[in-house]
């Protein structure tokens, strides 16, 4: 039963990375392209972003109900980077909505846009830094130690920031791929296809940096990776998908691209989980927090599982419908409403 709950947690996290990540990436992409992508990004994200970000809440709820020590330890020791990410989330969500709904005037619009772009980058960085802190194993629960040791050191290091940067590139890449589908202008498609290639290259480099940074910070990630066959398979599959992606960028095969990009992200997250499993949080001076030693009592898990399964059965078809209405229909028919709506009132 614990494994099933953990599987749902993994899926929720994965969907947050793929769907929510693309939203963050939208802001980052706008920043990289100096606003070129902004109209496309807005149109692509607007109907789905609220739903995309509920996955994060689901992850949090599963953690504090099902694995309470994970929740309390992480939020205590990584308080600072998580607070920074939360501040980013507030600014990002607000700025995006304000830009979409306020009267279209130049000055406020510029402010909303730069708020949205920079906070997308900022939030992603600190989400990544927090994840880095969880993986690295410098978290200590001996709260008698100094402030720096407990609340800064676990995340203020090369490795955590390398994960943050990796995440920024990954999210921008995802947004880039999804955005390709929404663009109608041939020239622009070429531009974004070229950009995607740069990002793939950057992603490979950033991946290498993550492993190098881990070694520098004394965490033998590469060794752990070599010892985990599942993880190796995942990374090999992710790498094999690269040429497919690369080739099809020319051919403008958008739905396939989406699928492959989603698959790659799944493999990356899967690879990470395979290395970690069954450890959830690496600790410095105490036994690591694992699936087994942090799980809530049987009865609690049972009722949560019912809620989750019923929830998933309701949510997945409904979210599929949402995507069907807004995402896949735009390929064949241009949205007549988007322009009409904004001009109307």
């Amino acid at each position: 039963m614990t494994e099933v709950i953990f599987a749902i947690l993994t899926i929720a996290l994965l969907l947050y990375v793929i769907l929510g990540g693309a939203d963050f990436g939208g802001g980052i992409l706008e920043l990289f392209t100096r606003g070129k992508a902004s109209e496309v990004v807005s149109r692509a994200i607007a109907p789905v972003w609220e739903a995309n970000h509920v996955w994060l809440i689901l992850v949090i709820v599963i953690l504090f109900v099902g694995f309470p020590p994970v929740y309390s330890t992480v939020l205590t020791t990584l308080h600072i980077p998580i607070l920074l990410a939360l501040i980013g989330i507030i600014f990002r969500g607000s700025a995006f909505t304000f830009r979409h709904y306020d009267i279209q005037e130049e000055t406020p619009n510029k402010i909303y846009s730069s708020m949205f772009r920079y906070s997308s980058l900022f939030t992603t960085l600190f989400l990544g830094v927090s994840v880095g802190g969880i993986i690295l194993g410098e978290i200590s629960t001996d709260y008698s130690k100094g402030f720096y040791e407990i609340y800064i050191h676990p995340w203020f290091n090369l490795f955590s920031f390398s994960i943050g940067i990796f995440l920024i590139i990954l999210f921008a890449f995802l947004a880039n791929i999804y955005t390709l589908v929404e663009i109608k202008d041939e020239k622009e498609v070429d531009r974004f296809a070229r950009l995607a290639k740069y990002m793939i290259a950057a992603l490979v480099v950033a991946g290498g940096v993550v492993f190098a940074a881990a070694e520098i910070n004394g965490h033998h990630l590469f060794l752990e990776f070599l010892q985990s066959p599942v993880s190796i398979v995942f990374v090999v599959l992710a790498t094999l998908a690269l040429p497919i992606l690369w080739k099809n960028l020319k051919r403008n095969r958008q739905n396939l691209l989406r699928l492959v990009a989603g698959f790659q992200t799944t493999m990356i997250v899967g690879g990470w989980f395979a290395i970690q499993f069954p450890i959830l949080v690496n600790l410095k001076d105490a036994p690591d927090i694992t699936l087994q030693n942090s799980k809530a009592p049987e009865q609690v898990q049972f009722y949560m599982l019912i809620a989750l399964v019923v929830g998933v059965l309701i949510i997945l078809p409904y979210i599929g419908y949402l995507y069907k209405v807004f995402k896949f229909s735009t390929v064949s028919e241009p949205p007549q409403n988007a322009n009409k709506d904004s001009g109307e009132m």
Binding site: F64, V65, Y71, L86, H100, Y101, A307, I315, S329, M345
Partner: protein, 436 residues
């Protein structure tokens, strides 16, 4: 300000900010649904305009509500990790269901807001209803979890650890029913009067028909809710008398245990002297309201150790404010119903519109006061009778600074949202002026 007070203030500011947006997100979809339904039925385009104008406001409020809610789900652990580590598995079940309800709400709202012309008229209309129902359910689940903090159930507390956890018993604790009906009704009443008040002001200025129709829809909900609210409150007070007698005593600054306890109106408590000055007292009424018998005994604060008293002054004033506003809004509700069924001319009179304008912020003020009553009235406990708030504080120093940052951000957002709101209204009026 010490760490502990800073953490409580941060939690209070975050919740106080979120609750307004949550209420709007929960109630406005119902108004939008009725307006769209009237449009489908009457084909009068003014209802379509109204639904769309409301929708733009709701999109902004909902987004801010969603991000502030996300922040809260983290803040609980960032400020009160010990509480969450013990309570999470026990009171987590309603949160698990809330996840689904909120998800459905977010998806349906996305469909509703952007689905004009993409969904069929009928599907679009009922999507609005889905938003409304999911929103209310989401609220009910969250309040059930809060109710558990007031009436902990579904576990045995053995040597500082919870054993034999029964999540279902925890979810349906003895406070869940009165807290959920009281809060849900409050949300409808507060949002209804706020919407009616804004439109009343605009109607006085412009005389546009759209505002008159908006007032009617909002008040239909608000009036019924405001009239039901005293009944709901009566039930809630009776339950508090049973479950948390110290809290009830603080509401009324009732220091000594007495029979034939008086109901006090207003007054300034003197906690040192254990006296309430300048209050109007109705003999026996508190006994009757709390126990259903004018001669019943009502426990005073003296029954409880001094360090287990809630902050009396704060709880007392919040409670009095909430009740006073509740009564005033109920009166407005009665006037509206009489006006609707008997004296139609009342509802176009200037005095009525002015009353509505005055009532605009009052409902939310009562919601905030009521929330203080619940939360501050539970102190010093975070889990009533089980765990003290102070004992669950995060070990991280410097919470003052995180509090200042969060408070500044929310203050700024409040101003921005108000400014955006006034711009939306201007836009609507521009359209109507050009139609004239």
């Amino acid at each position: 300000m010490d760490e502990f007070m800073a953490a409580r203030w941060q939690m209070g500011v975050s919740l106080g900010f979120h609750i307004i947006f949550a209420c709007i997100g929960m109630v406005m979809p119902w108004f939008m649904f009725v307006s769209e339904w009237k449009w489908v039925k009457t084909n009068n385009p003014v209802y379509l305009d109204l639904a769309k104008a409301w929708a733009k406001g709701v999109a902004i409020f909902f987004a801010v509500g969603a991000v502030s809610g996300t922040v809260l789900s983290f803040e609980l652990g960032m400020l009160w990790p010990t509480f969450m580590e013990h309570a999470g598995p026990i009171f987590g079940l309603p949160f698990s269901w809330e996840g689904t309800a909120f998800f459905v709400e977010a998806i349906a709202l996305g469909l509703w807001l952007y689905g004009w012309g993409r969904l069929s008229k009928k599907v679009h209309l009922y999507t609005g209803l889905v938003v409304g129902i999911a929103g209310v359910m989401s609220g009910v689940f969250v309040i059930s979890a809060n109710a558990w903090m007031n009436a902990p159930a579904g576990f045995d507390w053995v040597n500082g650890q919870a054993e034999n956890i029964d999540p279902v018993a925890a979810m349906f604790n003895r406070a869940w029913f009165h807290q959920t009906h009281h809060m849900t009704i409050a949300a409808f009443s507060a949002t209804g009067f706020a919407v009616a008040g804004v439109h009343a002001l605009l109607y006085m200025k412009t005389k546009y028909d759209i505002h008159a129709r908006a007032i009617k829809i909002a008040l239909a909900f608000a009036a019924v809710a405001a009239i039901l609210q005293p009944l709901s409150g009566d039930h809630a007070a009776k339950m508090v008398a049973k479950l948390q007698p110290a809290k009830l005593a603080a509401f009324e600054s009732h220091f000594e245990t007495t029979t034939r306890a008086p109901l006090v109106i207003g007054g300034i408590p003197d906690v040192e002297e254990r006296k309430l000055n300048h209050a109007i007292k109705i003999p026996g009424a508190l006994s009757f309201l709390a126990q259903g018998d004018f001669n019943a005994e009502v426990q005073g604060l003296e029954e409880f150790p001094r360090d287990e008293w809630p902050p009396v002054m704060f709880t007392h004033f919040s409670f009095q404010l909430m009740v006073a506003i509740g009564m005033f809004l109920a009166l407005l509700g009665v006037i509206f119903l009489i006006g609707t069924f008997k004296y139609k001319h009342w509802l176009t009179k200037k005095w009525w519109l002015i009353l509505l304008v005055i009532a605009t912020p009052l409902g939310y003020l009562a919601v905030e006061a009521g929330w203080m009553v619940t939360e501050v009235g539970r102190q010093p406990w975070i889990i009533y009778g089980i765990m003290k708030t102070r004992d669950s504080l995060t070990p991280m120093p410097g919470i003052q600074y995180t509090f200042y940052v969060i408070a500044a951000i929310y203050l700024m957002l409040t101003f921005i949202v108000i400014w955006l709101f006034s711009r939306q209204i201007k836009m609507l009026h521009l359209k109507y002026r050009s139609n004239d």
